[in-house]
């Protein structure tokens, strides 16, 4: 994407994000309330993040056979998942995952 498109994209993202925030605060009484909507919304970040993680891990950037090329990513991600579960620390999760990934790259 060129800089012009990126600026338009960011402006549009800013407007809709603010629109969602302000709209829900100002119109709260008039919006439909449903336990099902609330539950479905909970699955959005889970699904989006999982899809992006899986796609990134399986991508090989066009080099070599897919499984051997993406193996370091999967191992690093599994380690990061474990560290995340145990420590709940953003820093430790990212740093340990990066170290495992960089070591396996060699």
């Amino acid at each position: 994407m060129n800089a012009g498109s990126l600026w338009i994209l960011v402006a549009a993202m800013g407007l809709t994000t603010y629109g969602i925030r302000a709209g829900s605060v100002l119109l709260a009484d008039r919006l439909p309330k449903s336990a099902w909507i609330e539950k479905s919304l909970r699955f959005i970040p889970i699904s989006v993040l999982s899809a992006l993680i899986a796609l990134e891990l399986s991508s090989t950037n066009g080099s070599g056979s897919s499984i051997t090329a993406s193996l370091p990513r999967w191992v690093a991600a599994a380690t990061a998942l474990l560290v995340g579960r145990l420590t709940r620390s953003l820093w430790l999760t990212v740093i340990v995952g990066m170290l495992v990934f960089l070591l396996l790259q060699r």
């Binding site: 809709t16 969602i20 099902w36 919304l41 993040l49 992006l52 990134e56």
Partner: protein, 236 residues
């Protein structure tokens, strides 16, 4: 406020360092923190942009990811209803996950203790929101400065999916949520070669759909045929 910033600042530093690595110029990286001011959506956007997704896919994904803010708005509005619309509109800009979480917990505790509603409550929310905002802007800027110094051999772009893992861990709490996550991940890999990142869109939708359906099936089984008298969602 300090524990809040402890979560906010590392996240902002990473975002600032990684966005330029994904091909977003520094000025637009900074503008996104100011205009959008929504950490998860910003990370997701830079990952998609780096992967060559079309602008419309990035826009719609960010929109869907930010829909959850409407729940926060609805939930916090009774505590702000004494304010004029202009003030509410201003305060809404600061409605992030963290500002909402600390404010709603405090307001509910005050209610339980029988303290009066209204009054200066919105100042607490504004204080939390503005502190987070400042922390986010400064850490984005610091991250941009740091990221530009990092050598390419560090493969900083791989830190984005690792950040997603760190974000995902605390929101997955039960088996249905694990099912949604695995569905979305599997579909994303199976449909990885569909152009315009539409496979990714399909993956996100299947995760949401499978999760919601599983939730419905489970709650029916729990309630059972004779579960009419049980307390649950009472819809008008």
């Amino acid at each position: 406020m300090l524990p809040l910033l402890a979560g906010d600042i590392p996240f902002g530093l990473l975002y600032g360092a990684l966005a330029p690595a994904a091909g977003v110029p520094a000025s637009i990286t900074m503008a996104m923190s100011t205009l959008v001011f929504a950490g998860s959506a910003q990370f997701i956007a830079i990952q998609l942009i780096g992967g060559g997704a079309p602008a419309l896919v990035v826009f719609l994904t960010a929109l869907v990811v930010n829909l959850r803010h409407s729940l926060y708005g609805i939930s916090i509005s009774p505590f702000l209803k004494h304010l004029p619309s202009k003030a509410k509109g201003f305060l809404a800009y600061f409605l992030t996950d963290e500002a909402y979480a600390v404010s709603i917990v405090r307001f509910r505790q005050e209610d339980l203790r029988g303290q009066a509603a209204g009054g200066p409550r919105h100042w607490f929310y504004l204080g939390a929101g503005a502190t987070l905002w400042l922390g986010w802007q400064l850490s984005t800027a610091a991250g941009i400065a740091f990221g530009s110094q990092a050598p390419a051999s560090w493969h900083l772009d791989f830190a984005i999916p690792l950040t997603f893992i760190a974000l995902l861990v605390p929101v997955i709490k039960n088996r249905v949520e694990i099912l949604a996550a695995i569905t979305a991940g599997a579909v994303a890999i199976l449909l990885a070669n569909i152009p315009l990142k539409l496979g990714l869109v399909a993956a996100m939708l299947s995760g949401i759909l499978v999760g919601s359906l599983a939730e419905i099936l489970l709650s029916h089984r729990k309630a059972g045929p004779a579960g009419l008298g049980e307390k649950g969602e009472t819809e008008p």
